[in-house]
Symmetry: D2
Subunit: 338 residues, 4 copies
């Protein structure tokens, strides 16, 4: 299996899904060792850096990519398996950006109140304990939280000639901001344009579900993935699979519509996997789905729907792609970054 | 500690929070061994019983209670600790009631389409494996799922002279339909009327998050609780605590408002518990909250917000009430029901 | 036709739909000359009266009633025709109550920002020009706006044993806050309990659609209505009729659900009135409905759906009840109040 | 004033805002006599043409344009005045497209029910009475409704490198589907890219508010507009002005957020126009705004907020641009099309 190393130059970042020229062509079945800049585009480096002064909102969530997958055509399924995620800096940043986030009025949930105070937090990485440290800005409390690296954004070019900001989660994936997008997970995305044009970025050293304040512990990330192509079968919405769960992600507004989308998609998947009548899939999943909120802060809100494999007869989704990816990941041995 | 046994007669069930005469007066610090009828009021006993024919929607979620707590006054905090939940029948039922549930149009999300087919499923309890069995109605798949007993409804009488159906989750608790309402959890509710007038019911042998089809594995339940009263400090919305988590529950529509309510309430709780500035509580919780959806099917939708204690300095919420409740639960020894 | 005069004493106000003892029994086909207190319960009398200090939120929207209608049974239709509305004071008040209204975070759309400044406006009635005067609190602009009196609340007791605050719009009518609830309009409500137990209040000297700040030009009102009973045919949601329009009112959250409810109800009404197939009613109304928002600030949001009679063949809804009410109104001659 | 005639060839239609090459460069202060194809791209010509068979959803709402306006830069304000709209065919079409519309589940409000029946209606234009005729598909009722021509879509290229489908209403205008976009209205849009790249299309011979079934009486349209440029002052969201009203349009989901956006934008406009404190603008508009729903069926929902000029002191928004446009329209004399 080929292993490609790629670290984008600053002028190579993409800020959209679709609309950006590919940085590289790859063959299906390729491993890539990548580097991603943080969501703030490295603009917040200390608690004295304020988002309203330093962050250029037109250039956040810089994407590494897009990559053109040879042979990918509309209707196909792109499989991106996350082999490894590792913080690429010794600190991460988070911020309460004025009029951005979940517990403030925004440009969409528009109100007349003053903004919350523009505030930045820096989290230091402690490699020995594998934690990041929360430090109060207005008091003394400190809390060590485990590093649980994930990617906020994984996506392909949209359908219908659209180009969307890297802040948007949608059918094409994108800024879903779910902790499930972690090492060991395979992400299936429907291909909309020739070459698929996938990219990723927005590494989080950790994130709570909902991403309440609008930002996670944002940090540059070393990323190893294996990418493959399945002809046909492109899912309507992103599907995830790891050793423990089948998952779907719905993204829309209001939040119940994100849930509906994801839960219907999981029903559809179960109809296929288990040859179930729609009503039986609906019932079975009603009793076994987990439904963590991913984000309530982006251009669309996202919900993850999870079904635990442990209670179910074994099935090989996408002809066993996830198991194959796990083997490939193992074949890469211990992952290191320079 | 006093231990009261109570199994309501059919004519004693309450179908509302508020508006029903108390079945009993109890002292703070009382244990109760109760029995609750299933959500369908025992109307669905086989797959041939259809909800549209058998279920009286004006008499669902029959409540055991209400109980009058001596000394409880508006502004106080009622603490209900669930010591034990055990299925009281050898089977549970679930149903896709026409125009009720999450993946169908309803009387609120009103549309013109025909209903989904009225369908009932029966789940048999296997005590040896502690599972309930899903059996396809339109195919062959069967799945054994673990019994994870919980209560759909725990609530007190509402404020503002209101009386609400036992189908409603709100500030007063009620039909929150969260899997977190299980043995080992202490539920804190703000008292709105003299005596608090709390009740519980709607036992679920298990339930997926979101309760997609509108009903869980509904079954009669044996319930052991300890109830206590804290003067003052009544929370605006339900708070839960167990050994692992601090939790809040928000219930409203759209679903993002349920999330906002619960997440703000958890911020407020953390400001108190850890003497935190609002912005620091917001930030810390943004990185550590879990946000499982409880239901997207009731009169209001519910979201649970959870913060893991394991990463945090120890605090004694409500003067250590949860720890006290755990001791009392232990003092009851092994719980049995006739 | 009997004409009853009734002005409630302060201790006779109701603050709920359902749950209050009737102030009087009336026969179907009765005219009533009533007086209603303003929504603030007379607490705001000058710009120096602040809502946070003076208004008791547990006693707002005081209702005149409830009235018990002899012979009214669940399933029947109550018809309330508004003959006349006239301001009963020489001034009205409006206020931006902290954390209440449409362009601020609220207890439901919960956020962490500070409230908007608690502010009161007084509007003086100019009888000569039939206007109320807006006067800036923080500048010099004054604007004379026409008096267009309406009732914020008209409702009956709810179904299902519920009791709801007079701040709530729902199936039973209630706090719909629509400018369409004006003289010349007949309101049809489904009867839920014996006697119907209807009440009204919350007079507005005028109100914009949406009621953005949460309060209209609130004022005590003289109200003349004729009330009648139609056996059976109780509509699921409030229906309105005047000489120009057939109307329905949907109330829920999110706002699109309020719209869906009202639009489906209008489709159902047109299926009956014009013997139309559902799809034809859906299509015809898609091209001719007007859809003014009523409020985005109450416990539920409300939308009015209107179909203009002028383009349609004449029909006699409810056996010509509206035309009969218009005759009765005329028979009352010029309405005066003491 | 220059008058340009332009009728696009089929291969010149645009299906996006942004991302399409301009068809022409124009100078500010130009009049254009245009032709637009109907929303279905001429695919539905009889009641036997079914949307699911004939309509290509990737090529609906074909746009005439985009036009590059010389001198237009990001931050500027584009003013498009609609001089005249006239049906360009003798019939229009409407359809209930499966899983598209307001009273059906959709790809966003996803459910498991079967679709409504795919149905097409044809409305014939009667020039003598200036009406279109509704004809029942499943019965006998016919209704003549006045022709009230409007444009469903008027928009510019989006900000942030995005390209959006012509089905989307957003900050950049687009598919707002409001009856207010009619002759006599001036539309102000913020310019996001050099040249503004505006386009229009989606003519409706008439439409109900909400556009319940998802489509209006769709028809090819002759369109005369005058286009001008104001340096700077680009509004955050579309603003409309005619002789009677100042208006804003908010588009988002849920519908209350569309309303909030539009109502806040109208508050901001009034702060400027009348030098008002935010709280006074909020209050004044609370008592005088009209709030018709535009659509509840598109990718975003839209609400129009209207303030009647008749009660207000005269002001010249955008330095009197609307009055200037009215003069220019008059100077064009009677508009005719070939």
């Amino acid at each position: 299996m080929e292993l490609i190393d790629f670290r984008p130059r600053r002028d190579q970042y993409a800020y959209t899904f679709g609309g950006a020229a590919p940085v590289m062509r790859i063959k299906p079945g390729t491993a890539l060792r990548l580097w991603t800049e943080d969501a703030f585009n490295y603009a917040l480096q200390s608690v004295n850096d304020l988002a309203s002064e330093k962050v250029n909102l037109a250039e956040v969530n810089p994407q590494t990519g897009p990559f053109y997958v040879e042979g990918a055509e509309p209707g196909d399924t792109l499989a991106i398996h996350i082999v490894d995620l590792a913080p690429a800096r010794s600190w991460g940043a988070s911020a309460a950006i004025p009029f951005f986030g979940g517990l403030t009025s925004t440009d969409r949930t528009a109100m007349l109140q003053d903004s919350l105070p523009d505030t930045t937090w820096i989290y230091h990485v402690d490699s020995a304990t594998n934690t990041v440290g929360f430090e109060s800005r207005f008091g003394d409390l400190t809390v060590q939280l485990p590093i649980e690296p994930m990617l906020g954004t994984v996506g392909v070019a949209p359908a219908g000639r659209e180009v969307r900001s890297s802040l948007v989660p949608e059918r094409f994936g994108g800024n879903m901001d779910s902790p499930e997008m972690k090492a060991g997970t395979t992400c299936y995305l429907g291909v909309n344009v020739e070459g698929a044009l996938w990219s990723l970025g927005d590494g989080h050293y950790r994130q709570g579900e909902g991403e309440a304040c609008g930002t996670a512990v944002e940090g540059a990330m070393n990323v190893t993935v294996v990418v493959d192509l399945i002809k046909g079968g492109g899912p309507a919405w992103p599907r995830l699979e790891n050793d423990a769960h089948y998952m779907t992600v719905g993204s829309s507004r209001p939040l119940e519509d994100a849930w509906r989308i994801g839960q219907v998609e999981l029903v559809r998947w179960f109809e296929q996997l288990y040859d179930l009548h729609q009503m039986d899939a609906y019932q079975l999943l009603s009793q076994m789905t987990q439904a963590p909120i991913a984000n309530v802060v982006d251009a669309n809100f996202s919900v993850v729907l999870k079904a635990a494999k442990q209670y179910l007869p074994a099935r090989s989704a996408y002809d066993g792609m996830h198991a194959l990816m796990r083997e490939r990941a193992t074949s890469l041995g211990t992952i290191t970054y320079d």
